[in-house]
């Protein structure tokens, strides 16, 4: 980590923290979906900047890649599909007040506990730094993710692959094998098509750069994959391409290749190295790069497909009410 202790305007963090707090309170208070989603995108930006100030560039990049691109897209399309009206009445004042009080209590308790923590908090910086060389990685976060705690990273990427299967299983039986259509949101405007033609090449470079630089600098497969996924979603949104069918074998391979390769190399490690998820000394760096490349691909495919939604049949969908009723009939 670079030394950020030079001239550090701590006082400038005060407005940032204040803005975060105000925006968070407004977000919980407002009742209009779309306004809240737009506010939430801004909140994501602020959080990313806050992570920079806290010295966690990797987290800041993740927050920006997800919160700035895909999250806003996902939430706004969801809000659009739901319509502006919510059919639930707002809870009454007593209910709101009591929950607010309880939240305040929890916050105070947490604050008391966190402020009472030893400073500096005991941490694993020293052991990570002393063993980092084994992994031949310059970025300590990458070393933790791919070597020291490889099992967690592997299982998290399994969760992502699982999430796509789960989302697909939410589609209708008769639509199985069709394409996802959540991003078919009306005819694209010329400006959107223009962006769809020009932005993805730039995004491709940034995404690959983030993956590649992740070995030694902040960045990595997740951040890079998220950028690539955002670009794919943009292409689909501008109708310059179509999401693949759920029955497509290559797509499925793309979803699982990251965790699968991770697991298989890990299993091989039990034979050719010292333990499950260990790397043989001579091949450490190439194997790690191979895993990370596959992971980038899988993250990109999975995130893009998560935004694209479950498979749907072409043609105008039935209106909302009858759509829900039709759901009750299983073929």
């Amino acid at each position: 980590m670079p030394d950020v202790s030079l001239p550090d305007p701590h006082w400038a963090d005060l407005p940032l923290g204040f803005a975060l707090l105000v925006l968070a309170l407004w977000l919980t208070w407002t009742q209009r979906d779309r306004a809240a989603v737009i506010g939430f995108t801004g909140y994501g930006l602020l959080v990313a900047i806050a992570w920079v100030r806290l010295g966690s560039m990797d987290v800041a990049l993740t927050e920006a890649a997800l919160g700035g691109g895909l999250m806003g897209l996902l939430l706004l399309t969801a809000a659009a599909r739901l319509g502006e009206e919510t059919d639930q009445p707002a809870p009454g004042l007593p209910a709101r007040l009591s929950i607010a009080l309880l939240c305040l209590g929890v916050t105070l308790v947490l604050a008391a506990v966190v402020l009472g923590l030893p400073s500096p908090a005991p941490n694993l910086v020293a052991p990570v730094a002393s063993h980092q060389a084994v992994t031949e990685l310059g970025n300590p976060v990458a070393a933790v993710l791919i070597a020291f705690r490889a099992v967690d990273t592997m299982l998290e990427s399994v969760v992502l692959a699982l999430a796509v299967i789960v989302l697909w299983s939410f589609g209708a039986d008769r639509a199985w094998g069709a394409r996802p259509r959540a991003l078919h949101l009306g005819p694209p405007s010329p400006a959107l098509v223009f962006l769809g033609r020009l932005l993805p090449p730039a995004g491709l470079i940034v995404g690959v750069h983030l993956f590649w630089t992740g070995a030694d600098h902040p960045g990595g497969p997740f951040q890079g994959g998220a950028v690539l996924a955002a670009m794919a979603a943009l292409l689909w949104l501008a109708r310059l391409g179509e999401p693949p069918r759920v029955s497509d074998g290559l797509t499925r391979l793309g979803i699982v290749v990251g965790p699968l390769l991770f697991l298989l190399i890990g299993l091989a490690g039990a034979v050719i190295a010292d333990a499950f998820l260990d790397y043989p000394e001579a091949l450490t760096k190439p194997l790690i790069l191979l895993i990370e490349a596959a992971k980038t691909l899988s993250v990109a495919v999975a995130l893009a497909l998560l935004v694209a939604g479950p498979p749907e049949l072409p043609g105008p969908m039935p209106p909302r009410q009858s759509g829900r009723a039709a759901k009750g009939v299983t073929p």
Binding site: W26, W29, R32, A35, E84, P190, A191, L192, F194, L195
Partner: protein, 120 residues
């Protein structure tokens, strides 16, 4: 202060000024389209001037190239999203005047105003 630093100081200050102007416009201008106009100024000029100002400070060649690429991307993205927003504002203005749903208005329509005050 070297020449490069002076250059940086001038251009970064100008950029900062345009951000300030963009903010004033966003908060003070009366209708959505003029606010959007003010915003585009900050987007393009503000960021562009800051980038130009930082060029002498960047490492050659990758830092400089990265900065220029960033500015190109920002101009591209800023222009296109302004276009998108303007289109949406127009469509909605047309819709509100032909008796569309007022609650969705992006203009300072009374319906939108009232709706909002009730929640905030």
């Amino acid at each position: 202060m070297s020449l490069a630093d002076a250059f940086t100081a001038v251009f970064v200050s100008l950029g900062a000024f345009f951000f300030f102007a963009g903010w004033v416009g966003l908060v003070r201008f009366p209708d959505a389209l003029s606010r959007l106009h003010a915003l585009s100024k900050a987007d393009n000029l503000g960021l562009g001037l800051v980038v130009i100002g930082l060029l002498p400070q960047a490492s050659w060649p990758f830092g400089t190239l990265k900065l220029i690429a960033l500015w190109l991307v920002a101009v591209l993205v800023g222009g296109a999203s302004a276009q998108l927003l303007a289109g949406a504002i127009h469509a909605q203005a047309a819709e509100t005047s032909t008796g569309g749903e007022p609650g969705r208005g992006t203009e300072a329509a009374p319906g939108a105003n009232g709706n909002d005050k009730a929640t905030s």
